[in-house]
């Protein structure tokens, strides 16, 4: 909803809907966890690839032809050109077929759709990323974008938690970020999810956040994770004095069309696919709790 609401009255010219996806070749597959894989996709059509642009936080509809389409964010940063990445948890028909795909296989992508993280408004601010589980995927797009423009932001911190060590995604990058200068990293797993070798925190994300005690001064929080984590994280941020306007999240409602027609992602009078997926928590507070 971060951009101005558009209505039927003031919206010309219209963009013709094209349900025909771009053909994408699977360039590499990274096994993240027992049920999450990250796919790097290259454009079969060079011209499509050259003209493709997006902003961090946008999403698309990924196709396995014969199984159908499913919605995922673009998990890579727009500062890295020539490919996109998506991280997919095996949960249903399309995701199961994707998980069985091989490098070289052709899948479909249409997008980018939706709004994006207001990265320009974040310049000069302290950024605190808070991710849970596979919810790190949309944050990763923005996080790499921020790292690639590192000098334009003040402090950059990231708190990431998963149920167990085995459920942490992007393990190689977690290590890479930890070694980086100018990034404050905190990794945690839920109690009971640790291993003997685990050197991160043990505790739920909101608890660890409380211990971190980040300054509310000039701080923008970007968070994504399971609904229950978001709920308690937002409550903790509130206690820490960070206003809801400065807490930005991204919704993952079920979608089909991606362009404000099919009605599936509606929350109140908002379309998550058009007015979101990125919302300020102060905006979400005005909407029915249907996400």
């Amino acid at each position: 909803m971060l951009s101005e609401q558009t209505t039927a009255v003031d919206s010309p010219p219209l963009i013709p809907i094209n349900y025909k996806p771009m053909r994408m070749r699977i360039e590499s597959i990274t096994v993240e966890t027992s049920d999450v894989k990250t796919f790097r996709l290259g454009f079969c059509d060079e011209e499509e690839g050259a003209s493709f642009d997006y902003k961090p936080g946008q999403f698309g509809l990924y196709s396995v032809f014969g199984a159908g389409e499913a919605t995922f964010c673009i998990a890579s940063s727009p500062t890295r050109k020539g490919y996109i990445e998506c991280s997919v948890k095996r949960a249903g028909k399309v995701t199961a077929d994707l998980h069985q795909s091989n490098v070289g296989d052709i899948i479909g992508f249409r997008g980018p759709y939706g709004n994006w993280f207001p990265i320009d408004d974040m310049k000069g601010k302290n950024l605190l990323f808070i991710g849970g589980g596979i919810g790190l995927a949309p944050l990763r797009s923005l996080f790499w974008n921020v790292l690639d423009w590192r000098d334009q932001f003040a402090d950059v911190s990231i708190l990431y938690g998963a149920r167990s060590v085995a459920d942490l995604v992007y393990k190689t990058e977690l290590e890479e970020w930890k070694q980086m200068d100018g990034v404050n990293t905190v990794w945690t797993v839920d109690p009971g999810g640790e291993t003997p070798e685990w050197d991160g925190k043990v505790g739920f994300v909101p608890t660890v956040l409380q211990e971190m005690n980040p300054s509310a001064e000039n701080t923008v929080v970007i968070t994504c994770g399971p609904p229950i984590m978001i709920k308690f994280t937002v409550a903790t941020l509130n206690q820490l004095g960070i206003p809801l306007e400065n807490v930005i999240t991204t919704l993952e409602n079920r979608m089909k069309c991606g362009v404000g027609k099919c009605g599936r992602c509606s929350v109140g009078s908002q379309y998550v696919c058009k007015d979101g997926p990125v919302f300020r928590c102060s905006e979400l507070a005005q909407l029915p709790q249907e996400y």
């Binding site: 209505t7 009255v9 809907i17 089909k256 362009v259 599936r264 009078s269 029915p288």
Partner: protein
């Protein structure tokens, strides 16, 4: 168009119109009684089978523009992991004339236009809209389930129609032209129609009682997303979606692949917010976890969210949902109860 021009036609006008338009290469759709006794739009080449005595079409006019299922993509998987994609076959570009929709169904096109034509142009819908002329038949015998007057309509409403036809006392018809497409149709009809005399009067509208007022309903909805009313008022809904499929304004759809062996097609099919699967997340979380939440969405969408977003109530009062529900779940009674709640400041009873 401020003033609607009126034409008159003799008793056999429909027969002659169907013949003339068919001869001119147009596709004519008209109400025909089917084996169940219901009336459905079918392509006709003569007026012989056209039904004239019916309350309304069984399936609303929307299906002419937004079919229950349509192909949006064709695909073929190769043996080496590649895939060939093709657009669906193009729609025929010839004109279509629909006779016999009711004013409520035509008014629903105004609702559908708003959602299919904002920000993104829904090309299949718009293509069908552009090539189709709608000739509605004004209602003479609405029944007790009709409530068009409660949602801003009328048994003689012109919104969404290109022409509205009225039965004249001499057995002929009076045709009220409501759009440029309607003007063009009148030209195509040639000597089948003639301008009506200046003193020609349209028949008086039959009475359709007003059951509620949408502004008062919305005022209550604005404050009562959380209310015990919803559970009590929605217990009869079993989530079968019949009301939605037969609703002239409901427009939610699903996108699915239908494939056999290595090739297939991607279709968009009517869907419904009454289904639990409609909003179910991959994680198992469901933002609308029970039938009360889903029926509330149906009411909220029609009477609060759609008006906020698109400046129109997404209900035209055709009464199909009331007539069709096997469980007796009545939208008009539910909404009238909401208005009654609003009047007594009540939030907890059905």
């Amino acid at each position: 168009m401020a003033e609607h021009k009126i034409y008159q036609a003799s008793q056999d006008w429909l027969k002659r119109a169907v013949e003339a338009l068919t001869a001119a290469g147009l596709e004519v759709q008209a109400p025909v009684e089917d084996e169940t006794g219901g009336v459905a739009l079918k392509q006709v080449e003569s007026a012989d089978a056209i039904a004239t005595d019916y309350l309304n079409l069984l399936v609303p006019l929307k299906r002419i523009f937004f079919p229950g299922t349509e192909v949006i993509l064709e695909f073929e998987n190769d043996e080496d992991g590649g895939v060939t994609l093709n657009d669906p076959p193009e729609l025929p570009d010839g004109g279509v004339v629909v006779f016999g929709s009711r004013p409520c169904d035509a008014a629903a096109l105004d609702v559908l236009d708003r959602v299919f034509q904002w920000d993104y142009d829904d090309v299949p819908y718009r293509t069908r809209r552009d090539r189709t002329t709608v000739v509605s038949f004004a209602c003479t015998k609405p029944d007790a389930t009709c409530f068009c007057t409660s949602v801003g309509g009328s048994p003689q409403g012109t919104l969404g129609s290109d022409v509205v036809a009225f039965a004249a006392t001499d057995g002929g018809a009076l045709l009220q032209v409501c759009s440029e497409k309607g003007e063009k149709l009148i030209e195509q009809l040639g000597d089948i129609v003639t301008p009506a005399p200046a003193d020609a009067a349209l028949p008086e509208a039959p009475d359709v009682p007003t059951l509620f007022h949408t502004d008062r309903v919305k005022a209550w909805l604005d404050e009562n997303f959380e209310s015990d009313f919803w559970r009590g008022a929605t217990l009869n809904c079993v989530g079968c979606a019949a009301c939605s499929y037969l609703c002239p304004t409901c427009h939610c759809f699903d996108i699915v692949d239908e494939a056999a062996w290595n090739k297939g097609e991607r279709r968009r099919n009517w869907d419904c917010c009454s289904f639990g699967l409609f909003t179910l997340h991959a994680s198992g979380h469901n933002p609308r976890p029970d039938q009360a939440a889903r029926y509330r969405q149906r009411v909220m969408h029609k009477f609060k969210y759609f008006p906020e977003r698109f400046d129109a109530v997404a209900c035209v009062g055709c009464g199909r949902c009331v007539r069709t529900c096997g469980m007796g779940q009545s939208l008009s009674r539910t909404v009238a109860a909401i208005e009654a709640n609003a009047e007594v400041g009540e939030t907890t009873s059905a």
